[in-house]
Homo-oligomer: 402 residues x 2
């Protein structure tokens, strides 16, 4: 665990993926992230994948290196404790509704410099999820060979919203350090999705053309990029984004003359123009299909690597988990043998921060907490609660212990 954010404490009241991932990224960089959960866990506490004992491998990986306080949030007194914790730290990440007992206005009473980051569905408060905003902005109608829509399996909008929420949190903290002012950053999944469509040119494209982009299967729009199959049946993705990669790909496949013939026949030059390579794919793709189908994957891999051509065979997740470069020998991962404190008791490689900072030590990944594991430490330490008062709340069923 890096110490980049050492000294920063924040309360996280959240579930599902976006909001917990924002907290995870902060915890992995050394912030103290205190999850406050319903006693027994929130709505995602048993989300699949689970072990045979119904312990969530999803939850325990999205909540590594955090602390856990368990409260009865259906009870007014439990809610007041959560509010007091938010006010005591001054930083809050949540996906609870914008109105109600966790509204920024309510929480900022008595803590005017509070920074809140709130992941939402729609900006107006209506519920939405990754899978529904994705439909709303059109990607499933562009994905796969068609004609049916294809959902992507990666929860990309949740993940993007989570990373952006972590960024917005630090942005508001930076502003506060200059101005002294708090504030609330609202990150609706719907705005992340439609804003991204705009950022990558999609709104401009369909507005200017009045029509949708053609559906391309595994080919990449506007570039030379597609999946091909080698003589030994390996399906591999090849993508070209620089003049050098194009030149080396054509040379590696001994297609220099054949490509020149197309250029001559069509009065174009592919050397420096991604768009032309895409526009003339009707002529180029069959040529490359044949050349790649005539060679083995090992043979082509070596030639492509030597020329800096970007390629990757399709693999399964199990293949990926067993890949030494990606996992076993990757400093991002820690061993986590013998469960190493995982609430599930399961043993498997655990990830630390994506980022590598050569100037800093990367300590091993830490486990997720058990529900309520840090209730006593946090309530007595942060809120100055007496041990008698703490015991009373536990006895009353308002506080849970790990």
């Amino acid at each position: 665990m890096y110490d980049m954010l050492a000294g920063l404490s924040l309360i996280e009241a959240s579930s599902f993926m976006a909001s917990p991932s924002a907290g995870l990224y902060c915890a992995q960089l050394g912030a103290e992230v205190i999850r406050v959960d319903q006693i027994g866990g929130g709505p995602d506490y048993h989300r699949w994948p689970v072990t045979d004992d119904n312990a969530s491998l999803y939850w325990e990986n999205l909540n590594r290196a955090k602390k856990s306080v368990a409260l009865d949030l259906s009870h007014p007194q439990g809610r007041e404790v959560l509010q007091a914790l938010v006010r005591a730290t001054g930083q809050f990440i949540t996906n609870f509704p914008a109105e109600g007992f966790l509204s920024h206005e309510v929480l900022a009473e008595g803590r005017p410099d509070l920074v809140t980051v709130r992941v939402m569905g729609w900006a107006d408060g209506r519920p939405a999820l990754d899978y529904t905003v994705n439909n709303s902005v059109g990607f499933p109608m562009l994905t796969g060979p068609g004609p049916e829509p294809v959902n992507h399996v990666l929860p990309a909008w949740d993940l993007l919203a989570g990373a952006y929420a972590a960024f917005a949190l630090l942005g508001l903290i930076q502003r506060r350090s200059v101005t002294g002012l708090g504030g609330e950053a609202r990150v609706p999944l719907s705005d992340v999705a439609i804003g991204t469509v705009a950022n990558i040119g999609g709104i401009a494209e369909v507005t200017c053309s009045g029509e949708n982009r053609p559906r391309l299967g595994n080919a990449v729009y506007g570039l030379f990029g597609r999946d091909f199959v080698t003589s030994d049946g390996v399906r591999t993705m090849i993508v070209v984004v620089t003049p050098r990669q194009w030149k080396n790909l054509v040379a590696a496949l001994s297609l220099t003359e054949a490509v020149a013939a197309i250029e001559s026949a069509r009065s174009v030059s592919f050397a420096k123009d991604d768009g032309l390579r895409f526009a003339h794919r009707d002529a180029l793709f069959p040529l490359f299909e044949r050349a790649i189908a005539a060679r083995s994957h090992a043979d082509l891999s070596a030639a492509f690597d030597a020329g800096g051509v970007v390629h990757s065979e399709y693999r399964t997740m199990l293949d990926a988990a067993n890949d030494p470069a990606l996992v076993r020998d990757n400093p991002v991962f820690g061993a986590m043998q013998d469960g190493a404190g995982n609430p599930s008791g399961a043993s498997y490689p655990a990830a630390g921060a994506f980022v590598t900072v050569p100037q800093l030590d990367r300590a091993p990944p830490r486990p997720a907490p058990r529900n309520g594991q840090h209730s006593e430490e946090v309530l007595t330490g942060r809120l100055g609660m007496s041990s008698g008062e703490f015991a009373r709340l536990v006895d009353a069923g308002l506080v849970g212990l790990g």
Copy 2:
């Protein structure tokens, strides 16, 4: 444009998507982001979608609200100017190689507190792209109905890496404000991808089970979620993540008794268990298919909305662009009529920051710069270059003007 990051200046030398999007997010929150590009533009300067005049709608949306300095980066003197700019500001975002004239070590000479954020392909410096890391970690083998792999069209890894890079930048800046120390944050696409597989439980899942998750088409793993078709032929995604949503969905479809019969026959209760709803989908899905196929989309929409059931019909990107709630009436977007300064001259709705901060004014989105538009302002202002020296560099072809 929000002013959250006012006072922060950074140099961006970058192309493609991840690194420019990190700069975009900073610029949209008020940072001064100065792109330094090859004269005439880098490798992504004409990336599709493009206008009839080959102006990139992609580039001009990923680079809004930034400044542009154009240099001949193939010439030692052009490279020195870029190095001087990085040292003058102290913050740098790039996807240039970790070694060479833009290595952190080289740049930190004379600016020991420099903060660098570098998006990479593989962590060891080998090239990789969104489309190839995606294959490497297994998502295309889980996407679509099978058996062929399906690439997702959304460049999700680039986008996630970009948002995370912006977060890491602010993290290093926060650390520097406490310790005075600079450093380099390296964000390899490969680590973002495999780290995410781990974060959402995928590495644990395949390691513990020894096998890959089944391929589910448009159904969601571990939840009740799938696409269904209404009586009037509308395909819509429905996802349930809370007990209340389940109860209301079942009631809206008048399936209370039929679901109770399955629960009774199988000795389970679906009321509070996402996993059971998924495990028994063989019984549940046909029931819901028939109930939904018997009702119109308008009828079901109203019932679902009343019950807080999360659903969304599949739409195209053109549908999304024409949706008033998503674009025209959405404060994230600005009108950008009459081109409004877009380098392409095209008119279309332009996005500002995803985040909404109720406490701050959201000024209209700003256009991307023309290549070299701010060369004079930045070189004379930031580097204190005399007008004579500036003119000499322009005459020598080392600096480009917008």
